[in-house]
Symmetry: C2
Subunit: 224 residues, 2 copies
DNA sequence: ACAAAAGTGTTAAGAATACACCCATGT
DNA sequence: ACATGGGTGTATTCTTAACACTTTTGT
């Protein structure tokens, strides 16, 4: 390495998913500056020397969306994009992350950039190559929930089997057979029944279940 | 973004695999500078502004190992590591790539850094967190060959079914049943028979096959 | 004729799919 | 009593896994 070394600009972009109204939704902010001024985009920003890209992601999420990274129940690095010229000053490299959680309430104020969760089937046009990044994240998520306990991030600590199935269906984008679903989810050993029931409406109460682990766990493949 | 922005140091590291002597082997170089002077490491180096990380990878491979990236038959980005302090000057971010090919001959000269292919079961101690990176790459490779045509990168354009099976076994690290292997590989539709045979030794000649596509293709999962 | 690798099919077990009725509750 | 979502089992098809002998060639 010589003394004239100039590193490229490094940025981070986050794809934050949660379920809203039984649909998968992604967090977007509205840009306040050029390029793509006023367009919707993933929350992202610069990563500086002396912080990890995860730390940069935390800082950016807090600044642009008023969300704390500690409220995310699953975080995973996705991919590093470096083909798009995102900054007029030249070549930029963007490390992307996927975050999953429940009950996220982005803070809309004059300090943030109109952070809003959009249902995946009603996405606005996105800045940069962010539509590609969302697509990539969705593929990863779909694949991830078929061999890990990653859905746990979308559900309360205890939940009914119907809630769990609805979560899978929202993410996978198609419906599942109730009996086969219960058979397979039981076979994974990822969840356990509790002694509690959830009563709502004029019908039989539903047994509540929990995930045995909140930390990432592998399992046998489930649900094509 | 303000004027005091300082990007972190950006590096690339490559995990280059090929089969040698029916075993999976990885390319290492011997470091000539501190830190980890004289230790074996993955070929890596700085990525500068104005080049993509792929271009940086090509430059570094050529400089340190005398290999041309156009001779790689499969390249894929793996993961971006940014937790290891690899440079005394501070925090560094490393984008890693996996490359696969056949008949790679690294150039050992005074300009390169003793580039050598090591069988995976005889790896020396590696600098930095490079053992982790190799392990990560191996997992990715094992998974990749079970649902894509990625093995094609390790084989000549036409090959026998036994050669193909030996390649799978070398990568997966365990042996496979010959009849079941042929049944499954046939079912993927990834390969097609040619009219040629390969004669070697005092036994029945083996039919030669080709991959239908050299470009990345998905298929049904094969070979646990 | 023998040695050496190529080639080929069947059976059994397990996994995936399709499918319909009874249960517990509130009104 | 009825409406609503919760809960359960079986039969069929498909997939996987285990396993051994015949074929073609060179010497």
């Amino acid at each position: 390495m010589n003394d004239t070394y100039e590193p490229p600009v490094l940025t981070v972009d986050s794809v934050i998913f949660q379920l809203l109204d039984n649909k998968l939704a992604v967090l977007l902010i509205q840009r306040t500056n050029e390029p793509f001024k006023d367009q919707w985009a993933l929350p992202g920003g610069y990563s500086a020397a002396g912080e990890t890209t995860r730390e940069a992601m935390a800082r950016v999420l807090s600044a642009k969306a008023g969300l704390q990274v500690k409220d995310l129940r699953f975080i995973e690095q996705l991919y590093t994009f470096d083909t798009v010229a995102r900054d007029p000053r030249g070549h930029a490299v963007s490390v992307t992350y996927m975050g999953l959680s429940i009950n996220l309430k982005p803070l809309v104020s004059e300090n943030t950039q109109k952070p809003t969760f959009f249902s995946l089937d009603k996405l606005p046009e996105l800045a940069y190559d962010h539509a590609d990044i969302v697509h990539y994240a969705l593929e990863r998520l779909r694949s991830k929930i078929t061999y890990t306990n990653a859905v746990h991030a979308f559900l309360p600590t205890s939940f009914t089997l119907t809630q769990l199935q609805v979560a899978y269906e929202a993410i996978l984008g198609h419906s599942l057979d109730k009996r086969n679903f219960r058979k397979k989810i039981g076979a994974t050993g990822l969840i356990k029944p509790t002694e509690k029931y959830y009563q709502e409406g004029a019908h039989r109460p539903a047994r509540l279940y929990r995930f045995k682990n909140q930390t990432p766990q592998e399992s046998v493949p489930i649900f094509g």
